[in-house]
Symmetry: C3
Subunit: 418 residues, 3 copies
């Protein structure tokens, strides 16, 4: 009788997910989206008689629609207000190539093409402000100027999964190793591609939902790193609490059927919205009929969201996502008025939570809330506490107000420090 071999029962390695372009549909489709972002939609048509790429700009003043034949069989694309970047794999005759239609140029030759060295294949590409980046199968990252000059060539810390660019920032998702039992093992790197050349995030894990994979990587319109996993969770990396990713939307909660999904186009922090396409029974939309853009609101996954307290806490911390980023106004993503509104909403959430806690006789919690309030809001809190006959609380709030005033005075008197 054959001796039964002991069968291995432990965790099994997961196949590493392939590199992909965010907001594209699968490359095996003959009609597909190459990219759909805040600037434009690029579609590719690959029929027996003809093969073409069409780019339609949301704002026609950026550029008129582009229609180019796809003779090189490009399957990778990114598009910005400056350029359309395309990439293809090698064929029997030709090497893998990157091609740029630099329509933002003011000179006469608005196109450049670069062959990759023999044996090297494009896996991912992206556009930033004034530059392009491509990642290849042999683990190299190549930076180009938007005008077609070659810049640095670097070793990627692991096999590339996706690239994204925003102004001088390059976000790279890569395989940090092999995951087990259906998990991927990804990390991100955030590089400053400008002359400063710093690592802003140096190989921080990209923490996906249990047994999921990465389906979207990018920057919010305002420049904050973001991703979505195959479980439908969207996360932001605002940098306000270390290199921690904050979940901002569970798109699955908006799906009707279990095989429905949202296909992500972009994230807008100022509007606290996810722009996406609802896909029935699929992970991605067909080209025709033309998909309708759906807008999903941010919602932080706080506990007890069915209670007033939970809702106000969620409102408060959601508004904090933005107010931590006052540079938004400087960068022109947001008017001062809008920021002012957000700040007011924030104070309102706090004041409502304060009233709620006060009514529940939770005076300690009232003080915690008062510490989060803007100093100008404190007199209102004191008045509320007094009227609600929480004399002890009103006294403590008074002390807090005096302490804050004293601190403010001191910091005024102190000479500014470097």
């Amino acid at each position: 009788l054959p001796v039964s071999t002991p069968v291995y029962q432990g965790p099994l390695p997961t196949t590493q997910q392939k590199a992909f372009q965010p907001s594209s549909t699968p490359t095996h489709l003959s009609h597909r989206f190459m990219v759909w972002n805040f600037v434009a939609i690029a579609r590719s048509y690959n029929d027996t008689e003809d093969s073409a790429i069409e780019v339609e700009f949301h704002d026609a003043s950026v550029h008129h629609a582009i229609h180019v034949p796809n003779t090189l069989n490009h399957h990778l694309a990114d598009v910005s207000a400056e350029a359309l970047l395309l990439g293809c794999e090698s064929s029997e005759q030709f090497p893998s190539k990157v091609q740029c239609l630099h329509f933002g140029s003011w000179d006469g030759t608005k196109e450049w093409l670069c062959d990759l060295p023999q044996g090297e294949e494009l896996r991912a590409l992206c556009l930033g402000g004034g530059w392009a980046a491509v990642a290849s199968n042999i683990g190299l990252l190549r930076i180009f100027s938007i005008g077609g000059l070659q810049r640095q060539v670097m070793r990627l810390p692991g096999p590339v999964v996706a690239l994204a660019g925003h102004r001088q920032h390059l976000l790279i998702a890569y395989h940090r190793g092999v995951g087990f039992d259906g998990e991927q093992n990804l990390a991100v790197l955030l590089l400053d591609v400008s002359d400063k050349g710093r690592s802003l995030i140096d190989g921080s894990p990209l923490p996906l939902s249990v047994k999921s994979y990465l389906v979207w990587l990018g920057f919010s319109l305002e420049g904050c790193p973001a991703y979505m996993d195959s479980a439908g969770q969207v996360c932001l990396l605002p940098g306000s609490i270390g290199n921690m990713w904050l979940p901002i939307c569970d798109t699955r909660q908006h799906c009707k059927g279990s095989s429905d999904h949202y296909w992500l186009i972009g994230v807008q922090e100022v509007l606290q919205q996810i722009r996406c396409v609802s896909c029935k029974g699929s992970r991605f939309p067909p080209i025709l009929p033309r998909p309708i853009v759906t807008v999903l609101p941010f919602q932080l996954p706080l506990c007890q969201l069915s209670t007033e307290k939970g809702q106000l806490e969620e409102q408060y911390w959601r508004s904090r996502l933005l107010s931590d980023r006052t540079k938004l106004a400087n960068d022109g993503y947001c008017s001062d008025e809008h920021l002012e509104n957000i700040s007011q909403q924030q104070q309102e959430s706090l004041m409502k939570l304060f009233a709620l806690s006060c009514r529940a006789e939770r005076e300690f919690r009232c003080i915690e809330l008062a510490q989060l309030m803007a100093p100008v809001a404190l007199p209102l809190a004191i008045k509320y506490a007094s009227r609600a006959r929480h004399r002890h609380l009103a006294e403590r709030l008074g002390e807090l107000a005096r302490e804050l005033a004293r601190q403010a005075e001191e910091s005024l008197e102190r000479p500014p420090q470097a």
Copy 2:
């Protein structure tokens, strides 16, 4: 005949260790320690007729003993001078819950309770100064104020193993991946939970002994990250040399039998002591008879500890653990006198090593030692060298003393820099 299948002989993945509460005994025990730390001991009793939690404070002035029924079947606990934090898994009827007895509050409602969302289960929790943190099975980290306000919700970089809090610092041990052949693959993250919100350590590997797992994670009484692995090694992360963990005690050396272990309660840097319970033939103590606390001294694993040189070197570097942390005095963990004593011991170790090297004709080494000495100790070294007729050494020491004096003078003359 059946063809023999080739059998895989390579490294095999290790099952990931489960999340645990530091200084607790296993949850399957009906009578167990939920937590034993510098503040209190929390025991849980789960008998057929009754189920209760008892907390006994080491300092009765902090709080009188607490006895509460354990109707929710809490199995996770942490305790601080402010609060008792409890957590339970979901049952058929109820969701997973976190409960806080905030006895440090000055108001009338000293308790709060928070249900986790459907499908989410508590895995670990901890208390810090004014806040609580919980980690769940779906990879979320939730921060609460001690008064029960919900704060940030973040994605953990990997499955949680243990949490620990100290003042504004949150230490998180998590699975960075799967280890092989009996190894775990852990990392730690150290977050500032205050408004600054920085990562102090961002996903640094937690390097355990060969084929061991994590059995304790926490902060020293003075706030320095520490851990113990199942091989009995205790390590500190003082931050004096990068993010490197320094081994400070091999508890196995104090065990008589090979199946004896020490169960860790806490680490005291100022006293250079490990507080633990000696367990015969076990990894953890029973509730009864009441375990006796054992104190083990710090000892760095230097070479040649049976020689005078080795002992003095060990003494010197052990004392450096502390003197690198003069903020201890500011934080009230240590009197100025105590620090002064440590500083004197340090200079004595150096002077004895100096004498030893001098007698051994190792003049170069004498100079290396002199460079570690406080400048005020140099004249003594010069005197020793002169009397021992090491004229050349005495001259070099004189040069060193003059050089240091010159540098000190220069730094006085230089205007202070930002």
Copy 3:
């Protein structure tokens, strides 16, 4: 009939590569190189009648040749201008030992020896400026002063692969985990071993070529971290763009046969040269006949190196490797003249690229190039554009020159900031 067992088809873990000394030949050889670096060559002879170590210094003024019997059976060695460091494993009678011939000492006892604790085995060692480091099988890193004092003992973040030292810097390659399908999973740590004790790089992945392993780790002569993998790729970590490794030489391109390799001795940034030994049909050279040193030039793997544009871009970015490191002159690795030459070459590459782009009617690219030029070179570019009748380009260059002049003036007027 035996039921066919399902065979596992997924990725398979790779055996972790063993620790090694850079620039040594395999330890099983009876005659071998223990180390060959910029200072000296150490050979070991292990014959039936005799066993010895011979050290030959490239510059006899550093030290005359050393010939010592190898009674302890040392197999690890590093050599610097100060000392020869040796290490052996334990035998039946003796523990694992580290031995130092500190010939740079000015006193009479130029040697020290240290036994490792029972059960601990040396795996790697290196010398820095005034210190030595050893790493052991139980995951400890031990620092010694060059005079033989024990300093810190730390936990390594993973099993050691190789160590290298340069001045106060210690570079450690270690196993971050298990790789799959022929890949290793390595990382590096760069520590400041001086009193500052910082981590300069904290566990950054070491990205090797596909399915390769590490064959060399070290610092360039000028102090920049460098490595070579078994695919023959040499990379530098200049720190000019985050913690990214830049490929600087594909040694395989210089090999005639597929089983030929280069054995690395050192990297010289100032000369942009790799010093190595060409090995026919082998990965390492025999002791006899005495190997001849080959010099390979740096070459960055830019695209289209057969075109003039590609060559000039490669020249430019190669020269940038160095000019980003003006501290080289301060450290005495490079004369001011040499740096001046490099700077001139750089400007020449840019000017040639400018001319090329101008002739190709790529005016936008000309502006990109002008932005990389030194301001003094701009008038030349303007003159070129005017003569070539690119009037529009000349105007834009004029604007750029005025803008730069205005900025320079402003920064002069602004008071210096801390």
